[in-house]
Amino acid sequence: MSETRPVTPAIGTLVGPAEPMVLNMGPQHPSTHGVLRVVLELDGEIVLKARPMIGYLHTGIEKSCESKTYSQAITLTDRIDYLAPLSNNLCYCLAAEKLLGLEAPKRAQYIRVLLTELTRIASHLVWLGTHAIDLGAMSVFLYTFREREEIVKIFEYLSGQRMMTSYFRIGGLALEPPADWLDRVRRVVDALPGHVDEYEELLTENRIWMARTQGVGVLSAADAIAMGASGPMLRGSGVAHDLRKAFPYSSYEEFDFQVQTQTAGDCYARYLVRVGEIRESLKIVRQAMEKIPAEGPIRAEAKGIIPPSREEMKSSIEGLIYHFKIFTEGFAPPPGEVYQAIESPRGELGVFMASDGSAKPYRVKFRAPSFVNLQSLSKLCEGRLIADVVACIGTTDIVLGEVDR
């Protein structure tokens, strides 16, 4: 056994019993962020092998989508990555629009950009708070959730829901946003940079924080690409790949922002990438606030696919018929297959959608970034202490709803 023990630079060589101990971490462990179970093979306190066991939250969303119309399935997408529902809505709607050959009007596209960037900030705030609590820095959690609440209130103001928004619809948005919504956004956006400074003051130079994250869970750039890691996981390893830049969607090419990268590939690097992304997202939100026209259509025009306006439905018989047909039968895109990917807070969120020419999707597959990123967990943890497993799970930023779907 002693020959096969991995080198542990942090600990040196320890001599322990020949038999490795198998320990189940989770699925009820508080630091596994839901219901992840990691089977750890241990030599003393050193992790020899870490095998993530998933599926405890599998709800068959992809199968359910096949028995709903294209519009009905949007409500299911909220529940995949429940910390970034608007990103899921966006990816699903973009895929359906690609299949239909539709494009949302510019005003809707900018509003989508603004809201998905707020989603990214909210998601990163939850991540930062929970990750800090995992590593023993309690107070950060209280601050980040305070700010996140303000963002969630904006979602509620627009869609009526804090989390399960379903605000983006195929071809545009569900509702015209309230008149003074941008003022609320401005208040949050003006306050946030100061708050992010506060978090950084608490953590970035904190010696305990640095000791717990620097050099822990190192993922090299080559390994990150080979393991299909995306989002902050990939950028923390020095690969400047961001789908908003590489394959722009929803008018992202018109926005000016920097792709955040770090070269170390450890937990600290991923922390810096995410904090940097909060600041970059704020820049995008500010630009979007300038760009959004005060008036204009929020839905594309396509008879039989996009529901007519309330007024039209109430005043013309044709509008009423379309309204009725769209909400009972749905609409049938041409047969074909498309793949649409967006940069969700966690990485490449993809929707593969196949149509057979009927009103229900033939197949919807969600390429969940958490699912793929979690695969690298064993690479991050092996040869480290159990306590580092918590740090590694934290910086992978998994959402189990998305892992298991």
Partner: protein, 159 residues
């Protein structure tokens, strides 16, 4: 099956054909996305070529997913979504698999990330990936019977 003039459209397809004329069974263009249908036996060498060829560098595998065309044969279509990070390009490979022999050579040796993707496809569709290091169920419990994403598996009621 393949017509000579259609390969001029996409340089990747042209390079694939130059490398091995047998590697491309069909090319599908839809909504600006290119799908290359690859014969089942060729998927491993094609994957290796696309990932390692310096002028292509499809080093990133985003996703593997299956389509069940039940009751049409060949019943399954396994789709591979590739990305070239350096060149900013996407490509979809498709392998058609008959239900009588639902097996595909594994690509885990080319892209290690394929490990969990292939397990998921095995778990939900029952497509076997030959040469996979650990082909077990991933989302469903080990004792689960059937493959729920197949089209002959009902969404509700008694199965």
């Amino acid at each position: 099956m393949a017509e000579p003039q259609e390969n001029d459209a996409n340089p990747v397809v042209r390079k694939l054909r130059e490398w091995d004329a047998q590697a491309v069974a069909e090319v599908i263009e839809f909504r600006g996305e290119t799908t290359v249908v690859v014969p089942r036996a060729q998927i491993r060498p094609v994957a290796e070529f696309l990932a390692l060829e310096p002028s292509l560098q499809f080093s990133f595998l985003s996703d593997i997913t299956t389509l069940d065309r039940f009751p049409v044969e060949p019943r399954f279509e396994v789709n591979y979504h590739l990305v070239s990070l350096q060149r900013g390009e996407r490509l979809r490979l498709k392998v058609r698999v008959p239900s009588s022999e639902a097996r595909v050579p594994s690509v885990t040796a080319v892209w290690p990330t394929a490990n969990w993707h292939e397990r998921e496809n095995f778990d939900l569709f029952g497509v076997r990936f030959e040469g996979h290091p650990d082909l077990t169920r991933i989302l469903l419990p080990d004792e689960f019977e059937g493959y729920p994403l197949r089209k002959d598996y009902p969404t509700e009621g008694y199965r």
